[in-house]
Amino acid sequence: MILIKDGRLIDPSQGLDGEYDILIREGRVEKIGPRGSIGVEGCEVIEAEGLWVIPGMIDMHCHLREPGYEYKETIRTGTLAGLAGGFTALVAMANTDPVNDDASVTRYILEKAEKEGMCRVCPVGALTRGMKGENLSDIGELREAGVVALSDDGRPVARSEIMRRGLEYAKAFDLPIISHCEDPDLSKGGVMNEGRVSTLLGLKGIPSISEVIMIARDIALAGFTGGRLHIAHVSTREGVQLIREAKAKGIEVTAEVTPHHLTLTEEALKDFDTNAKVNPPLRTEEDREALIEGLKDGTIDVIATDHAPHSPVEKEVEMDLAAFGMVGLETALPLMLRLVEEGVLEPLSLFEKVTVNPARILGIEGGSLRQGSRADAVLIDPGKEWVVDPSLFHSRGRNTPFKGWKMKGKVVKTILEGKVVYG
């Protein structure tokens, strides 16, 4: 038995924020009681005085790169980075090689995760075969093998007909479709947000309308089909507004935002830092503020990292040639805590975006420390200051624009099914 003692428990699934002790037995939460109310006899005690205790975070959107791109990341290094960042479950996107469009690939990922993974891995199946946007994958078999959602993330589904059929077909399996909303025609050749900075730098822009037009389409299709739509990494003010309106109309749509879109703007590219090249691109301050507003009013349900590790081969090149994406697992928590520090969100509403909400959308266990649930928990020192040094990352990817940033808040321990696996 393990007793986590004297900490501040923040568990949005139960609406708890206060001093509670947590007793864990055989990987499950046995009991929760006010500070000092649970006897320590026969327990291994984890002293959490001054620390925050939250359910293990779920990253609803990351790229673990295995199989196929092990030089960028592996399931082992990715899940280790996850633990270090406070995540106990990672939702892995399907753009591996081979693409996870087939039950055999899903099984491979899950077996590999079982053998080498440090935390839970929940695979996303490709919506279309080869992510080519032409024919649906064998969705039923993928579901059977264990995928938690469907997505062609990284490649927008250009054809409306395919998106329609996907939303319809997935209803039979109660799987959400995670949509990377981008009109490939409008953003063709673009490397950053089309705006003041792209004009100054002479870089080809990706206009905000490229995202907005696809969010509008997908919402319309979700309304039309009754399918479950989840908008990945929304980045634009108009996009947030469309989702807000759709929710008001009762359309079944959820949405996520990344820590980097909440923190940075297009200005981050001013000195040609390829690590700030992401898709969707970092937008304007106005967009950033709208994203925060969307988080506050519940329009945006989830914060997800879009952790996209790349090797120097893909990043130490000209901006036009650099790959999109940045790593996020090991910097997400302190970036999120800035929202608490700035008074934007209460801890309870912040952590619901990475615990109970993604669990509910994906229909997976976790994200809660309710009595009887999986004992996945994270102990955080919210005041701990540290400086980002990518060479110390557990991830293979070092591609972060936050190098040298002074951060506040760090994971002290990560507990997976009752076992301390990190810290």
């Binding site: 004009t199 002479g202 000195d271 000209e318």
Partner: protein, 304 residues
Amino acid sequence: MRKDLLGIKDLSSREIEVLLETAERFKEVSEREIKKVPTLRGKTIINLFYEPSTRTRTSFEIAAKRMSADTINISASSSSVVKGETLLDTARNLEAMNPDAVVIRHPFPGAPHMIAKEIKASVINGGDGAHEHPSQALSDLLTVKEKKGRIEGLLIVIAGDIAHSRVARSNILAFKKMGAVVRVVGPPTLIPYGIEDMGVEVSYDLGEAIKDADVIMMLRIQLERQKGGFFPSLREYSALYGLNLEKLKSARRDVVILHPGPINRGIEIAPEVADGPYSLILNQVTNGLAVRMAIFYHLLGGKE
């Protein structure tokens, strides 16, 4: 001075003045019978060109030679680029040969900046994509200053494909820094988003825009832009945005015309305008040489 010249953006107006004053002095060297000074004896300058450019490369090369530097030209077609070597690897390899300066022309914005961070030699941006072309802008400043006696308070009209033009960007920054008023004109599809934030006026009507101009700078239109859907046809572009004698009638009598070259005669500029009395196109070439000598002088001289 500074180690690198990556863009007009980084220069103060004082630095620009110093470069222009130096360039004015250097013009004399090119008028001598023996067009050579020993100033950069023993220095090595590499011209690393990832885009074909006779004009700019030749100008940099002559500038370096007239100052007694050794020059080496590397062009993309003959270099290891084709073998798939990354830009940084190429830069590191060049660095191993200990050059004093690398002039780089590259189709992608930011390429010179990337190299500058990596190597000890001075890096001079000879044009990076649609970003900057600082030596061209300095030479245009010198040309206008010589002709008009000043920059401050002049109205400069830059016409054509603003969106894809590094000459436009560097010149907007340069003329603004020196106190001129800048107006850009072109079809709306070729005026980039947020250009007003650079402090310029925007117009879509060439005839209207040049009426009160002191200087008209015509940009080269890339013929492939038509395929990109930026304008319907060259015929229409030429009719609306080409500078001909008819349109020029509405301009001031003392207006001067610049073009960074090479010219599409009869498309963005009519031959009789390009070769006419208002045209400073050849002065730009002469001044370009002097400006590049001044750039070498200041970058390769004082080391911290």
